[in-house]
Symmetry: C2
Subunit: 572 residues, 2 copies
């Protein structure tokens, strides 16, 4: 596969659309200048296109396997992981005190997109470590930080999240894993965890598991859960992997995609662990990690969308078939519907990119500013996070699916790689909180401010429509109109009962994302003034975004219609 890092559009989106230049004006991110950003993006793009893209298919064809209790990863994965670690990419956002680069999440996201485009299976590994680094930075004791952070940040060791159990998926509070205090500051952790991404492997010398478990006096539900750091090999005092801990992968899942990423069932059998964060405070610590991981997963979807688009366009430009009514390239690109598919892919991908980067930017600004300003950015980032996760990953699936269609019969043949994108990305809509749960978060917790953060965003959208009125009146009108429909829907949501909100949450999130996409693309068209950005914005606003109207209608029907059929009627 030839992958061309979309650095130009990333820079344009960051600088011109989002105004991420403001980051380097803060003390915290003063070093993240445009020059540094460019150097980072170029270097990461090189790694992605030169090293990672070439192992993507190998991971699919030769899945990680469990042999004699140890996971053997796909050919080439260990070397490619070394390249990621040695480039310092695991610790890109981490605290410089422990060896990190301390760069903003905005840049981490852009770098993540490129790695995800090139090899999602492998890129999932550092994403897990990054979540763990963040959780430890915020919640671990100084001893744990000093011992583990340098190893995780350098990539010598990797991190995992152990939440899910067979009976406790979306309902984390139902977990049964136990932790017994040993009186010496350690705990014996016992339980079985499923869906553990990179739960075991041979690409690094140690694996640090963050495990949710219940202390003996932990109450049922989420309030009785604590978080434990449980390493595969217990570190010696000088930070070497020591004795093996009482834990092991007992099986790997046979999955639809992401074959290069070993997904393990992990068994902890009185394994030695250290508590992270307070007793019974595990969920809060876990949420620190999950919040940004959600954005990271949205960026996974984005990465696949970009890669699938590039592959489909390359195929279209290579394939001669029939004569289009317009004769230009002599390839299937001359056919109107092929163009429609490619434009849809491009518009959705760019929308998702702007949403993900703006989410990251908001979270960065929240950290880099103080007081009311910080609170405003924090609320903005919090509202955008579930949108970035759900829309980014939905777009990943949709664009990959369109990519298959552009390939015609070749899309169904695995050799092309078009199908692999669709298979690999599918889980991103499920893990890290299903997209349904993201939507519930958006209309539940994220509207507890009475809709203030959402309204502020709608205000930005309206401002874009106003600014565009003179030069692009038709686009401005549509954005204005659809924005108003969205605003009415928001008003309805804020007043509605919780289950009525939940009932309409998925269409509402989708509608919001489509309108945000229109807003970003139109802003880009105005700022850049290039014909191609104008044309893409027009396509999105006039042909993709109008779906928001039907979605808003569906979003405000309330819960009652969904319960009108009982289980027997559903089955009949």
């Amino acid at each position: 596969m030839t992958y061309a890092p979309p650095i130009k559009d990333m820079q344009f989106t960051l600088d011109q659309v989002i105004g991420a230049g403001r980051l380097s004006e803060t003390d915290l991110f003063a070093e993240a200048t445009a020059d540094v950003a460019e150097a980072i993006l170029l270097e990461a793009g090189k790694l992605a296109s030169d090293k990672l893209a070439e192992i993507n298919r190998s991971g699919d064809l030769h899945p990680a396997r469990l042999e004699n209790g140890v996971v053997r990863t796909s050919p080439g994965f260990a070397d490619a992981y070394q390249a990621i670690a040695e480039g310092g990419w695991v610790g890109i956002a981490a605290d410089p005190e422990f060896g990190g680069m301390g760069l903003p999440l905005t840049l981490t996201s852009a770098v993540g997109e490129m790695m995800n485009s090139a090899c999602l299976s492998l890129a999932l590994n550092p994403l897990m470590s990054q979540g763990q680094i963040e959780a430890l930075e915020h919640h671990a004791s100084e001893e744990i930080k000093a011992l583990y952070l340098p190893k995780l940040i350098s990539g010598e060791w990797t991190g995992t999240m152990n939440l899910t159990e067979p009976q406790a998926g979306s309902d984390v509070g139902a977990l049964r894993s136990k932790a017994e205090p040993q009186g010496d500051g350690t705990y014996k952790v016992t339980g079985q965890k499923i869906y553990i991404s990179w739960g075991d492997h041979d690409v690094a010398e140690n694996i640090c598991h963050l495990v949710l478990a219940r202390l003996p006096d932990g109450v049922p539900g989420t309030k009785g859960i604590s978080l434990f750091l449980v390493p595969k090999f217990i570190p010696t005092e000088d930070g070497k992997p020591g004795v093996a801990n009482s834990l092991k992968p007992i099986s790997l899942e046979h999955k639809l995609g992401l074959h290069g990423s070993p997904t393990a069932v992990m068994e902890f059998d009185g394994a030695t662990g250290w508590m992270v964060g307070p007793e019974h405070g595990g969920m809060a610590a876990m949420f620190t990690m999950m919040n940004n991981a959600r954005l990271g997963v949205g960026v996974q979807g984005l990465g696949i969308a970009e890669a699938a688009y590039q592959k489909a366009l390359a195929y279209a430009l290579d394939r001669t078939q029939g004569k289009g009514m317009v004769q230009d390239t002599g390839t299937i690109l001359d056919h109107a519907d092929v163009r429609r598919m490619l434009l849809q892919m491009k518009a959705l991908t760019r929308s998702a990119r702007a949403i993900c980067l703006d989410t990251a930017f908001s979270l960065d600004m929240a950290r880099a500013t103080e007081g009311d300003e910080s609170a405003k950015w924090k609320a903005r980032g919090a509202f955008l996070t579930p949108i970035a996760k759900a829309f980014g990953t939905d777009v990943g699936s949709e664009v990959a699916d369109l990519g298959i269609q552009v390939h015609g019969g070749m899309g169904f043949v695995e050799e092309t790689g078009a199908a692999q994108f669709a298979r690999d990305v599918r889980v991103t809509r499920i893990y890290e909180g299903t997209n349904g749960i993201q939507a519930m978060d958006m209309v539940g917790r994220k509207l507890m401010d009475g809709g203030a953060a959402a309204e502020a965003l709608l205000g930005e959208i309206e401002a874009t429509a106003k600014d565009a009125q003179a030069k692009h009146p038709r686009m401005a009108d549509v954005l204005q109109d659809v924005g108003e429909t969205l605003s009415d829907t928001l008003d309805w949501m804020v007043k509605a009962e919780p289950n009525d909100r939940f009932a309409g949450s998925v269409p509402f999130l989708r509608a919001f994302a489509l309108v945000l996409g229109g807003h970003y693309l139109l802003r880009g068209a105005m700022v850049g003034g290039d014909e191609d950005r104008i044309a893409l914005a027009r396509f999105h606003i006039r042909q993709v975004m109008p779906a928001a109207i039907g979605l808003c209608a569906a979003a405000t029907e309330g819960a009652a219609p969904l319960y009108a059929l009982d289980a027997d009627q559903l089955a009949s």
Copy 2:
């Protein structure tokens, strides 16, 4: 997998919604009474649920493979195929003169749905034979009919379609295969064909290939193509498989899904063949076969949708996770968004079923009536066919995808079978004319009557809205409104330039199908009067169908916006 044939809804749709009882009032289908239909559906349903469903996963896990030049099919497939053949299901619609049952396509489609639900990979085999039977019935000489039809109809031999070549997919006219007349009524056929479903196998004793090739004096393009029957073993005079012909499978595709169905690259090396239809008239003969095969492929999508829905509902009713705001079943079915997904799946599946069955019914009535009445039914069936194909298969993919989502993490694990549905059904949107080509057919060839057939259907939709006004005014209003938008879009299409039509064809087809779905479901709700049918119609009309508004807006933007970006701009 437990599969419950949806016979009740099929009968209801046939009898109450479509009025398929009119078939048995014709001479041609006088024997297809309600009693016969019920017996057929019950028997086919039994075969599907008892014999076919159990091999579905085996086909996925143990793909057909090519060994020493011969294809070995998946475990259990040969026996299951025998059961299909011995039940007479291959020849269900075929001419009784040659051993067929002579039943209407309406029943064939309902039977096909069940077989597709149970095992799409295997059910594709008789679908291929059925297309060939139809082509031979219409175009073959009496000798060929007498020799081949009884074998194909009994299922002792199977049929394939050989159209595609590497450089000739959607553009069939670009094919290079040659046929040299031998002066004895036979031809030597030479060429390579790709994507040949069931091109070789071990489930029957002979395989009859219908091959498109060019005679020495054939002009370039589709007008120079003829059709040849090329058997794997040349039949002896008493109809036994004789000497091996000069043809062989040279490789099998490694596909995203349908692993149980061998997809071969076939090499014909001066193979002996017999012409079917006139010289240079191959395309017409092939179209006979492809027309109904398109409906058959739509029904493949429908079958997967039904099976995926059943599996997702069963999973939802088994899975306890979190507490829904409504506490009813104690399972994830209590969550609003899970219900939304299931209702969406059910509404789309039922819409697709009604569309496919009404298409079949129209084609049957066209055969069973004469003169203007026949012409009217023919035009109706012709307009509906691309909708049935594209919408049926799109729905297959969408419902299977939602099925994965309902399964949560388990949806990504292959053991559940949810992912297999999505993988298997994906190709149905590509083969037998991509769904983009279906849409072009709909707004091109199928509007050459000035939109008369489309308008007649819109009239039926309007009548449903009127009939519903008294009892279901809100549904009636929405159907009326959206129907009018669709009607305006149709007017635009009829007047527009070809490429402007093509540019909007996919959204237009989708919008038309969604509105047709609303019409059928509302009619069913009125006729049946059951609370569950009313609730499902309401969900569809108020929450699914409104997407047609945005689609119609997109459909009328014309081609220019799609060509605003050149290849370089698309790549930047």
